[in-house]
């Protein structure tokens, strides 16, 4: 196992993240602080970062409401941000 960076697709755009990084950490490292919109229109990102609060969810490889803080990046992973399905 090495630490070579991994490329994932966030809303179609490639970003690079260290191997082993969580999707939330990868998004935060790009300077993004919010990647979900609640039904009332409020922006949300990570809050507890340990998988408890479900604030940081996104659609990952087609699966909705995935907690990005406890999901590890994988090469070619497709992340769709935006909001509740």
């Amino acid at each position: 196992m090495t630490d070579a960076p991994v490329e994932i697709l966030v809303d179609g755009r490639p970003i690079r993240a260290p191997a082993g990084a969580s999707v939330a950490a990868a998004l935060l490292a790009t300077g993004r602080r919010a990647w979900r919109t609640t039904p009332s229109g409020a922006p949300r990102g990570a809050f507890c970062a340990i998988g408890v609060c479900f604030d940081c969810t996104a659609t990952v490889d087609g699966l909705p409401e995935v907690r990005t803080c406890v999901t590890t990046v994988a090469p070619g992973m497709r992340v769709s941000t935006g909001g509740d399905p």
């Binding site: 630490d3 990084a21 969580s22 950490a25 990570a46 340990i50 609060c53 590890t72």
Partner: protein, 456 residues
């Protein structure tokens, strides 16, 4: 379906110790954890294999390696979604499975209490433990100018870790006036700190480091509001009275882009309550905790509870409780009489429980926290239920947490009330004067794919 003599839920300090003790006693032992790497929050390991580990992370790695070396089977990325007194229903990735057990040690730890305050849903507001987790695991600080606020040792530890990073720590606010209250409880203070050299050293080193970096550290101060349109731009802070109520007129604005907030920890009793273990409300221990025997067995025979999920006590108490519970669980599973506590276990339990009493006296959540949310403040982050809607439900006759939940939907989102229900419970009890009853735990505890259940 597979089976084990002993199953341990949670691979933090208590779970690692329990699994090792059970396996050493000759029981076939399975340790499950929701994360990829063992360690829990305290021993959280770096994601990068090449990064240097801290002393705490190194200790955690040794404990995990020791558990594996005595034959513990570790199942990472595996969460409990349902449980009975004889079976755990697990989900690994998208796959469900069932694990039968003769004895179980539940060591599910705790999650953070963050009081709802105006602006706390803005991006840039984090639980302090989140900032610590991102730092420990990903070597990442989610901001440039961080204000750390709340109560207990964690905010101090987080702030002290941040000063070596390319960020500015705008300040550390501790709600309790530590000097005043330690003098007020001299015996609890002296007893609690007896033989706690390492803890005192850590506190002192952290404080000195913060002061040397000119970080303002204030006790008797707290966060009252986060300011900003689409993310945090500043924080309103205020002096607090001994009940942690903001003192009118003392408010000040602190510029920051990130808030790390921590108002203590709440024992995670989901699995225990699903199994049916009796719980009692102990605000000094963080909330609802299981009733236990001296061998840490719950009201359900063969189901044990160890560590913070049975009352907030920290890693040192968790380690010795795990040791005791793991050995006792193995005895139960193998049909032996429980072994007596060793002299070392007795001494460690007594020492750490004295510290636990001091921690409770200084840092247990105080009534001022429930006054922070205003009528339009979101209390339930998932369902966006406001304080006003909760108050209205109580005024309309909802006298229990469960009734408030079912009339307002607060606590019914994907986090299942883990963040908001401790506060809702306090709001309801304060308004009605009715002693709280625990909310029923319901499966699935974590979301599981629909077809996964249909197949099983």
């Amino acid at each position: 379906m597979t089976a084990a003599d002993v199953v341990v839920v949670g691979a933090g300090p208590a779970g690692l110790a329990a699994a090792a003790a059970a396996a050493r006693a000759g029981a076939s032992t399975v340790l499950v954890d929701a994360y990829e790497r063992p360690g829990g929050q305290y021993f959280r390991q770096p994601a990068s294999v090449t990064r240097n580990r801290s002393g705490v992370q190194e200790r955690g790695r040794h404990l995990a390696a020791r558990a594996l070396s005595v034959g513990v089977e570790f199942r990472p990325h595996t969460a409990v979604w349902d449980a009975t007194p004889t079976d755990l229903h697990l989900v690994t990735g998208g796959t469900v499975s069932t694990l039968a057990f003769r004895a179980a040690v539940v060591a599910t730890g705790a999650h953070e209490r963050v009081a709802a305050f105006p602006g706390w849903t803005l991006p840039g507001v984090y639980a302090a433990g989140a900032v610590q987790a991102l730092l420990k695991e990903h070597d990442l600080v989610p901001g440039r100018r961080v204000l750390v606020a709340g109560s207990g040792p964690l905010p101090l530890v987080v702030a002290a870790a941040l000063v070596h990073r390319p960020v500015r720590v705008a300040g550390v606010l501790e709600a309790t006036r530590l000097a005043v209250e330690t003098v007020r409880h001299p015996w609890i203070g002296a007893a609690g700190l007896w033989a706690q050299g390492a803890r005192m050293r850590e506190g002192l080193v952290g404080t000195v480091r913060l002061l040397r970096h000119r970080v303002p550290v204030r006790t008797g101060w707290g966060i009252v509001r986060a300011l900003g349109d689409s993310e945090v731009e500043a924080a309103e802070v205020a002096r607090l009275d001994p009940q942690w109520r903001p003192v009118a007129g003392s408010e000040r604005t602190v510029e920051c882009d990130t808030l790390a907030v921590h108002h203590g920890l709440v024992p995670n009793t989901d699995v225990l309550r699903l199994i049916g273990a009796d719980v009692v409300r102990r605000p000094d221990l963080g909330g609802w905790v299981p009733v236990r025997t001296p061998w840490l067995e719950t009201s359900i025979p063969g189901v044990f509870a160890a560590g913070d999920c049975a009352g907030i006590g920290g890693a040192a108490l968790s380690l010795v409780e795990g040791d005791v519970a793991g050995a006792a669980a193995a005895c139960h599973a193998l049909g032996r009489e429980p072994v007596r506590h060793t002299a070392r276990q007795r001494a460690a339990l007594a020492r750490e429980r004295r510290f636990q009493r001091l921690y409770a006296a200084l840092f247990a959540a105080r009534p001022g926290l429930t006054g922070l949310p205003r009528p339009d403040t979101v209390v339930c982050r998932c369902e966006e239920t406001t304080r006003g809607e909760i108050d209205a439900a109580i005024a309309a006759g909802a006298r229990t947490t469960a009734l408030v939940k079912s009339t307002t939907r607060c606590g019914m989102g994907p986090c299942q009330g883990r963040i908001c229900l401790p506060l809702v419970e306090q709001l309801t009890a304060t308004a009605t004067g009715v002693p709280p009853v625990p909310v029923t735990a319901r499966a699935p505890l974590v979301p599981i794919p629909f077809d996964a259940v249909r197949r099983c």
